[in-house]
Amino acid sequence: MPRRKPQRRRPQRRKDVLHGPGGERGDAFRCTSCRLDVPLTAPGTAHRNHCPHCLTSLHVDGRIPGDRRETCRGRMAAVGVTARHDGEWLLIHHCLACGKLSANRIAGDDNALALLRLAMRPLAAYPPFNAQLAL
């Protein structure tokens, strides 16, 4: 019986959709969750880091936003919404690979239904205490 040695698979070709320091397609990024091509220019914010359709982000930044120092590159799911004192909404992202949290302002073209579902989630889930006692 001939011995079957598993063939080494050809390494995957590098995709050119990443907007990295190499300069490939620096005006857009592709969402890791819904594969939407997202342009970097957004109404209302200069620092778009999440998909406007599904609000998913990518863990590429370290301590400073935009420094690209992080090697994790895990998918970051939006877990919560908070409001600043001036009324600006912030999205809280949670890295599914390493568990780090980050906050980012929402953009003008973010999916309003997804944002509202996220904001309603603590109230829609059954609160872990008797909410009538708090009022």
Partner: protein, 121 residues
């Protein structure tokens, strides 16, 4: 948790709250270790989340948001008032429910878009 400290000592350890000064027992009634004051929900930045290990910041962390886990449990998101780092911790049974509810409804009180259109959905 080291083994050479007897459990009776651990059960009685306490820390003062950085904001309201309340002396807080380090263990909640359900036996879990807690990191925030049950009265004002403030925490202290003692652990570096980016690189791990202890942090030298040691300033107060204000509660900013509530995240819901898949099993329906609430998690409290803290934001360091000095360096801006974020942490998350599960809530305890004796946490101030008034502040928890206020945090949960605060984004809905200041919506960035009109909410009337969602009534038709």
């Amino acid at each position: 948790m080291s083994n050479d400290i007897p459990s009776s000592v651990l059960r009685t350890t306490a820390f003062p709250c950085v904001r309201c000064g309340l002396t807080v027992a380090a263990f909640a009634p359900d036996g879990r270790r807690r990191n925030h004051c049950p009265r004002c929900l403030y925490s202290q930045h003692v652990r570096d989340q980016v690189e791990g290990g202890p942090s030298e910041c040691r300033s107060g962390m204000s509660p900013i948001a509530i995240a819901v886990l898949r099993n329906g449990d609430w998690e409290l998101i803290h934001n360091c008032t000095r360096c801006g780092e974020l942490t998350s911790n599960p809530i305890c049974g004796d946490d101030n429910q008034f502040i928890l509810m206020r945090m949960a409804v605060r984004p809905l009180a200041q919506p960035p878009f009109p909410l009337e259109t969602f009534g038709d959905l």
